[in-house]
């Protein structure tokens, strides 16, 4: 399993390569992306702050739960921090499984739990103001 919190551009090829093995028949990969609008306002950019040591620890706990519950093969998660422009990827979650159903369900469940539990926060800077979106611990698309 792979869990990273990084200021650098995320790497989809790397997370997919990480979860793949010879018995993998399906990979579900989720991209959380900065979009140009939220709550009717025009978003200019986002700033992500994190408690990295705890974030990777919580990610691991969630991934272990999900792996056991859904019978998937492997999991890799990357989250970016710092200033992200519209169109940039804030979150990647990859799940490998023998079959597509487990891969999809586990990946979706992982992203849901990620957003509720992992200590990462975002500040939305929009036309006319800025706000820490604290009700939603993670990316904008929730």
């Amino acid at each position: 399993m792979l869990f990273e919190v990084t200021p650098d551009t995320l790497d989809p090829a790397r997370v997919v390569e990480h979860v793949q093995s010879a018995d993998t028949g399906a990979v579900a990969l989720f991209y959380g992306i900065v979009r140009d609008n939220n709550l009717g306002r025009r978003v200019l950019y986002l700033e992500y702050d994190a408690y990295p040591e705890m974030a990777t620890k919580v990610m691991r706990q969630i991934a272990e739960d999900i792996r056991e519950q859904h019978g998937v093969i492997n999991v890799a998660i990357q989250h970016r921090t710092g200033r992200l422009e519209i169109g940039e990827t804030s979150l990647l979650v990859a799940v490998s499984a023998a079959h597509r159903r487990e891969a999809f369900e586990a990946c979706h469940a992982l992203v849901d739990r990620f957003k509720a539990e992992v200590p990462i926060w975002k500040k939305e800077v929009f036309e006319g103001g800025e706000e820490w979106i604290e009700g939603d611990l993670s990316p904008q698309e929730s």
Binding site: L39, Y51, E53, E130, E131, W132, E134, G135, L137
Partner: protein, 86 residues
């Protein structure tokens, strides 16, 4: 002198103007006590006394969790779901 290191994030770090602070520990202090000491120093934090969550050594803990010398206490900003513009 026995202290705990406190880490602040997101809105709380902005309000305090710092991401880290050391707090002196008296006898039997809890996470909530550490927060109260910090709110005295950084009054902008005071409004979060009932909504902040705590982690000690990177594990979520209740407000009443005892803090020991050398612990790392993290102030986890509230999950508000609200949409107040700052």
């Amino acid at each position: 002198m026995s202290t705990a290191r406190v880490r602040l994030f997101a809105r709380l770090a902005e309000l305090a103007g710092t991401r880290e602070a050391d707090v002196e520990l008296g006898e039997g202090l809890t996470a909530a006590d550490v927060f109260a000491a910090l709110a005295d120093r950084y009054p902008g934090l005071a409004g979060f006394a009932t909504s902040v969550r705590f982690a000690v050594n990177a594990e979520y803990v209740p407000n009443t969790h005892p803090v020991r010398p050398g612990d790392e206490v993290a102030l986890i900003p509230p999950v508000s779901g609200g949409s107040r513009a700052v």
